[in-house]
Symmetry: C2
Subunit: 230 residues, 2 copies
């Protein structure tokens, strides 16, 4: 029986956009595990698996329900140890946590603000209302004002990727010669941006952009299979 | 025959201060390898092992000479695989590189500027002249002006440690339940600051400071064995 992935979508179910769900899609593909996705809108999340989690991704694997992308990756690693590794050992499990926290602190705030209206445009009206209410409470301003000033912050955003850029001068993936879950952590954030927005977060000659293209092609191109926003 | 570590010092040979040499000291202790240090001043570096490297640390292990702290850690890992691991697997080797680049991009520039005059004070006159010449060329200003403004930048520096702080809310070390080389990478930078300067880089209740205290106590307290600058 294949694994069930509850995957965040808007109006177009063929364009999943959640960064955290993308991490899990890539992890499932990396492990060569068969899975089916359950397209899930913002307002449907609370009903997933009887209220298993306030956020998705959530997976069901037989009798087991797991939420949180990092917890799911660890679950897959330990449940399917004979499949390709997602962490490359215990040290990688611990250090991937650091990379997750770096991505959340460095990449997510800028992208999340810059594409807020783009996400809103992707949603059904009932989800738009939910999105507006929760995000306006989080940012403490009207939705439309959140992306304002993104152009002025773009250079600092690109500069903040220096540790990643410098790492990629040493090795093709954060995980080394081949990708690991740590790559999917950062990929998920940039794929989120790519699927919902035409905004140019990266210069095309940035080594980070070149690495991102490599990630889009992984696992029979599941990342690239969703066209960029146009 | 014990490993020889060329270790950067100033006037007081009992107070080694190089962040990169501290990484290697901790790595040698972690592997339970016996070593002797060769106190080496800035102007003596070029003569080390017949000009093996422009910078230290350099180690000699029998017939093998290795320079660069990360290369040394990898050498120790693969030469002494039966000793406690420094990386916790291949994934850890690759992800530790990211943590090195993060530390170099995030921690080193602020500490390096803030303590520049403190380092200068630690040196013999001949090394002071060398240090002034090379650093004034690098910073393109008089040595005395480099630390100016550190108080205004301190808050942003502390904020930039968010990914580390957040990781330490999940696990006691960056390497997980026990420390790995990735911990020594960041430890080295903060130990550099601690040995040369009384400046308060971290608030005492910062989880990063609490982790740093844990690192000072590791391996029979070799970090703490050098008293903080007073």
């Amino acid at each position: 029986m294949s694994i069930k992935l509850y995957d965040l979508v808007g109006k177009d179910h063929s364009r999943p956009f959640s960064p955290h769900c993308w991490k899990v899609r890539m992890a499932l593909a990396h492990k060569n595990l068969s899975y089916e996705t359950v397209p899930t809108s913002f307002t449907e999340v609370r009903a997933v698996e009887g209220g298993a989690s306030k956020i998705i991704p959530v997976i069901r694997d037989g009798e087991t329900v797991v939420s949180d992308s990092f917890a799911i990756a660890l679950y897959l690693e330990h449940t399917y140890p004979d499949r390709p590794t997602l962490f490359g050992g215990q040290g990688g499990e611990s250090m991937a946590r650091f990379i997750e926290r770096w991505s959340l602190a460095t990449i997510h705030p800028f992208i999340g603000s810059a594409v807020l209206m783009d996400i809103h445009e992707c949603l059904e009206p009932v989800d738009q209302a939910h999105f507006r209410k929760t995000r306006e409470a989080r940012f403490n301003k009207p939705l439309e004002e959140v992306p304002v000033g993104r152009d002025e912050k773009l250079e600092a955003f690109r500069a903040s990727l220096a540790p990643l850029r410098s790492t990629l001068a040493e090795q093709p993936f954060i995980g080394g010669v081949t990708p690991l879950f740590c790559d999917y952590i950062v990929f998920g954030a940039l794929q989120w941006a790519r699927v919902v927005s035409t905004y140019g977060f990266l210069a095309s000659d940035d080594p980070v952009a070149v690495w991102f293209e490599r990630c889009l092609a992984l696992h029979e191109g599941i990342g690239a299979s969703v066209p960029a926003a146009a």
